[in-house]
């Protein structure tokens, strides 16, 4: 300890415990400062007793403050002084102007009315992220996903559905032919072209009247749905066009990314959500990714209208199908609501009507 030019007096900073280098041994001790020298002495040491550890403010490492967690002062020889006296250490540091960044963050974290502003800011920012950043991220993810992913995703799905829920179709050959022909006509005009989609007839069994599309372009149509359509062939085709819309717009992939992205962002931003909440988020995301969002349904409806108009069929057939479906299905109003992926039928019918009008008008202007 070279005598400092300022020759300041020896000052006791805090009481605590000192550990020798790389050892768990604990000795009750005090930390003292003189100029920029730091000295650790045994508590109650006599004047002549040698110090336990010596260092300079520039060579010691003081842990930054987190709450009131004990502070650790590490000396270059590996010994360590620990003290619960955060105030004493802070005083020492501010006086010597070191450790500004850590002190700044701790200052923000202190329980203070300012935190209310932070809470408000976080809520605003979180809303903005959900509205703008998340959809953008989903688009990027969809863009960079290679085509094999949806292919492999849906490879086993039809097989396992066949093994569990679906049965072979009982439709008469002629009816099947007619639908296939119309479907080919639609596929030809869709994004992927004729080879991009495959139509599969099945008896729905437990899942009843339904049609759904796998991301690979595999579309499954149940006999029960064909029955509902009755003698109106355009109804079935309008539903198929809707499913083609889901495939072309990559709605499954989007929904998976959206659900996973929401859960992931919450976990990243909140950092610590707890194991229970983590379980709920991951399972919730998995459940959510099974259904399409309202916007996706609406988008697929619009796609159906356009595709039906393009192939010279009645785009309003989709609206008629919804009416027929509702008449047929007065059952199952309870229990299914949570999984109901087709909410707000009247609204959708209204929109279909509007789009049909627009589609017809644009078609008319084009022929002029």
């Amino acid at each position: 300890m070279a005598s400092d030019a300022r020759a300041t007096s020896l000052k006791r900073i805090a009481e605590g415990v000192w550990h020798p280098p790389r050892s768990s041994e604990a000795i009750t001790a005090e930390i003292w400062v003189q100029g920029d020298s730091v000295i650790v002495r045994r508590a109650g040491a006599s004047a002549g007793e040698p110090a336990l550890a010596l260092g300079f403010l520039s060579t010691i490492e003081v842990s930054s403050r987190v709450g009131n967690v004990p502070r650790r002062i590490a000396f270059s020889n590996g010994s360590l002084f620990e003290t619960p006296d955060n105030a004493g250490i802070d005083q020492l540091l501010t006086k010597h102007g070191s450790n500004r960044a850590g002190a700044f963050v701790h200052g923000l974290e202190r329980f203070h009315p300012r935190l209310i502003v932070f809470v408000a800011a976080v809520f605003l920012l979180a809303t903005a992220i959900y509205r703008f950043a998340l959809p953008a991220l989903v688009e990027v993810a969809v863009l960079v996903t290679p085509d094999v992913v949806p292919q492999t995703m849906s490879a086993g799905t039809l097989k396992s559905l066949d093994a569990t829920l679906l049965k072979p179709s009982q439709l008469p050959e002629a009816k099947r032919r007619a639908i296939e022909e119309g479907f080919g006509d639609l596929a030809k005009r869709a994004d992927r072209g004729t080879g991009g989609y495959s139509l599969n007839f099945r008896e729905g069994g437990a899942i009843g009247p339904n049609a759904f599309a796998l991301p690979s372009g595999t579309i499954i149509l149940t006999d029960e749905l064909v029955d509902i359509a009755g003698d109106d062939p355009d109804m079935v085709l309008a539903v198929l066009a809707h499913e083609i819309g889901h495939v072309d717009k990559k709605h499954s992939l989007r929904q998976i990314y959206r659900a996973a992205g929401t859960a992931g962002l919450i976990m990243l931003i909140a950092g610590d959500v707890g194991t229970a909440m983590q379980d709920v988020l991951t399972n919730g995301a998995a459940l959510l990714s099974l259904s399409y969002s309202r916007e996706a349904e609406s988008e697929a409806d619009h796609y159906s209208v356009i595709l039906m108009t393009k192939s010279g069929r009645d785009p309003m057939a989709l609206a008629r199908f919804f009416t027929a479906l509702q008449e047929k299905l007065q059952v199952g109003t309870e229990g299914t609501s949570m999984f109901d992926t087709h909410p707000g039928m009247p609204d959708r019918q209204k929109m279909i009507e509007q789009w049909s009008k627009e589609a017809r008008e644009t078609a008319a202007t084009r022929t002029k």
Binding site: V17, H19, R22, S23, S24, A26, T28, S63, V66, G67, N68, V69, P70, G78, E82, V105, E109, F111, L115, F118, V119, A121, V122, L125, I129, V144, P146, V148, T152, G204, G205, A206, I207, G208, E224, L268, I269, A270, G271, D272, V273, G274, T275, A276, M277, D279, V280, N283, L287, K328, L329, Q330, V331, G332, T333, E334, G335, T336, M338, F339
Partner: protein, 358 residues
């Protein structure tokens, strides 16, 4: 805290958690705000501050643990993972067939990642100036964690206690505190015993959810249907089926909490430090279940604002029910790692979810 080199001469020493909700609220809120403002970059430093708060407030025999990872270290680790993911994406975009290979590569790499992750968590943890260490190998992680997971899944959870035993043996028998080692040999029979409430709840829960599904089935069956009887039946069946998935998930979730708490007690009480000092845990299963579930509701109801309070509450509850029974003097423990600082900063792989959770 006098000149004694270790904790009292003997007897049970319970751990103690001294964190408070008001302190942690500020830390949590600033963590979130800075994470958003820095587009996620701060999350690495946020993790350090959070862990330092929780470790630093966990006291055993008057002294607390410490968390030594640096934000930069975790950030670099995350960058490596991120770069790896991007590389995989680019490669699969060029050679699509490799998309089928990359999950296999990931599965092969998983045990290695686990072992490294556990080593990271151990090495950045200290108590009384002495670091922990983890010496488990990737092969060990494969035979215990991966095979255990496969066995538990294939047996539909019936052999889960066996898998738990393998995992915790791998964890504790490779865990070191300075120059002392931990050892653990939880008996399978005891784990089954601890799992009993979870098993009973699971069976009862399945019966109840089937009953609910059946009720939905009957109720919708009696509604006048325009279609054929068969069709109505099938629709009702679908309703019952879907009505069952959600209750089943909830039951599984509750049972998993009960199971975890029960297994923790058995494992901790079967673990020794330095072959003499027995770890201790008397976490009440249903008490813990209540804490976790009520916390979850509080977080939902307050849109996350109560999360700091619930986190502190859960931690305090768990730590209060943990401890160690000293058999004589632990003596002076020496840090056995050569140049501990260097070894610790060389670690980048911090696998989320593979913390020890002292």
């Amino acid at each position: 805290m006098a000149d004694t080199s270790a904790q009292g001469a003997g007897g049970l020493v319970r751990a103690e958690f001294r964190g408070t909700a008001s302190e942690y609220f500020g830390i949590w809120m600033v963590n979130i705000l800075l994470t958003i403002v820095t587009v996620g970059i701060y999350s690495a430093w946020a993790k350090v501050r959070r862990n330092r708060y929780f470790y630093g407030n966990t006291f055993v025999a008057g002294q607390s643990f410490d968390y030594h990872a640096k934000g930069k270290q975790i950030f670099i680790g995350r960058l490596i993972v991120f770069a790896g993911l991007i590389a995989i994406n680019i490669v699969t975009a060029i050679v699509p067939l490799l998309a089928l290979v990359s999950p296999i590569v990931f599965l092969v790499a998983l045990p290695w990642l686990m072992a490294r992750g556990l080593r990271f968590s151990a090495r950045v943890t200290s108590y009384r100036n002495v670091r922990f260490n983890f010496t488990g190998t990737a092969w060990g992680a494969f035979t215990s964690v991966v095979l255990g997971g496969v066995v538990a899944t294939l047996s539909l959870g019936i052999l889960a206690p066996l898998a738990s035993r393998w995992f915790y043996r791998y964890l504790f028998n490779n865990l070191r505190y300075g120059d002392r080692s931990f050892s653990s040999d939880p008996r399978v029979g005891k784990i089954y015993g601890a799992a009993l409430p979870a098993i009973i709840l699971f069976v009862v829960g399945i019966v109840i959810s089937i009953a609910i599904a059946f009720l939905i089935f009957m109720a919708s069956n009696q509604l006048p249907a325009d279609g054929s009887v068969e069709e109505a039946l099938e629709n009702a069946f679908a309703a019952g089926l879907f009505g069952m998935i959600v209750p089943l998930m909830i039951i599984y979730f509750l049972c998993a909490i009960l199971y975890r708490a029960g297994v923790r007690n058995v494992v901790m009480n079967a673990s020794l430090l330095d072959e003499r000092h027995r770890l201790f845990s008397d976490l009440p299963r249903f008490g813990y279940l209540f804490v976790v579930v009520s916390n979850l509701f509080l977080v939902f109801l307050t849109m996350g604002l109560m999360r700091p309070w619930t986190a502190i509450r859960e931690q305090r509850y768990v730590i209060k029910h943990s401890g160690i029974t000293f058999d004589g003097d632990l003596g002076t423990v020496l840090d056995s790692m050569e140049a501990a600082g260097v070894a610790a900063t060389a670690e980048y792989l911090d696998l989320e979810g593979f913390d020890f959770g002292f």
